[in-house]
């Protein structure tokens, strides 16, 4: 079975990703999902448009997973970032780490999402109900979506 693409314009299918991360002996699975949301002081956001430096997303995802496999050799991972226009309430990113025991699953999943947030070349623009737009970048540190 081909692994799911790491960058997609389609809806993220968690069940398909779970299949990709499953393996014999892996008793604990930690999943993180980031969901497009309206933050408190955003006004009437109706969607977020994600764009990416795609070639670099692929290579950076690969580096992050290589590091993670180094730290948790028994783990299996599945990751997917959606780009394009994503409506409120839908998933923009999914990270899955399946390991022998739950502590490692949480740690491995957390590691990957933190590195993704810090390193993945993805940007987002808020789309308001009146059609106006706003890059959501300066506020990232204090009012991150997830």
């Amino acid at each position: 079975m081909a692994s799911p693409p790491r960058l997609t314009r389609e809806k993220i299918d968690v069940v398909e990703l779970l299949r990709a991360a499953s393996g014999p002996g892996l008793g604990g699975t930690s999943i993180f999902l980031g969901t497009v949301r309206r933050s408190e002081d955003d006004g009437p956001v109706m969607a977020i448009e994600y764009s990416a430096y795609s070639e670099m997303v692929e290579s950076e995802f690969e580096k992050i997973l290589t590091e993670a496999r180094d730290k948790w050799p028994d783990a299996r991972f599945a990751v997917q970032h959606r780009i394009g226009r994503i409506p409120l309430g839908e998933t923009s990113i999914a990270i899955i780490a399946a390991t022998l025991h739950r502590t490692e699953a949480f740690e491995a999943c957390r590691y990957v999402i933190e590195e993704v947030k810090a390193r993945l070349t993805v940007w987002k623009k808020e789309i308001f109900e009146d059609g106006s737009e706003d890059w959501r970048e300066g506020r990232e540190r204090s009012a991150d979506s997830s």
Partner: protein
């Protein structure tokens, strides 16, 4: 030497373009290239001097030396996830 310079997200919007080729003297650094881009593009001065950059798909420091044919990307603050 020639360096392919790519702009993304807000930077591309500011400059009105996503890619530009720049000519630089040998042993020029990322910082030199960023100065050139800021000076040559309309709206370029709105790109911070100390922007995030990547060279050939690797996050890179401002003092990295460039080589002919390199791909330099100017990256607004990342917001993935």
């Amino acid at each position: 030497m020639k360096v392919r310079c790519r702009l993304f997200a807000r930077y591309a919007e500011l400059a009105g373009l996503e890619e530009v080729e720049i000519e630089l003297p040998g042993s020029a650094t990322v910082a030199d290239a960023v100065s050139r881009v800021r000076a040559m593009l309309r709206g370029g001065e709105l790109i911070p001097k100390h922007t995030l950059v990547a060279v050939n798909h690797e996050h890179s420091p401002m003092d990295q030396v460039l080589h002919d044919g390199d791909e330099l990307a100017l990256l607004p603050p990342l917001a993935g996830g």
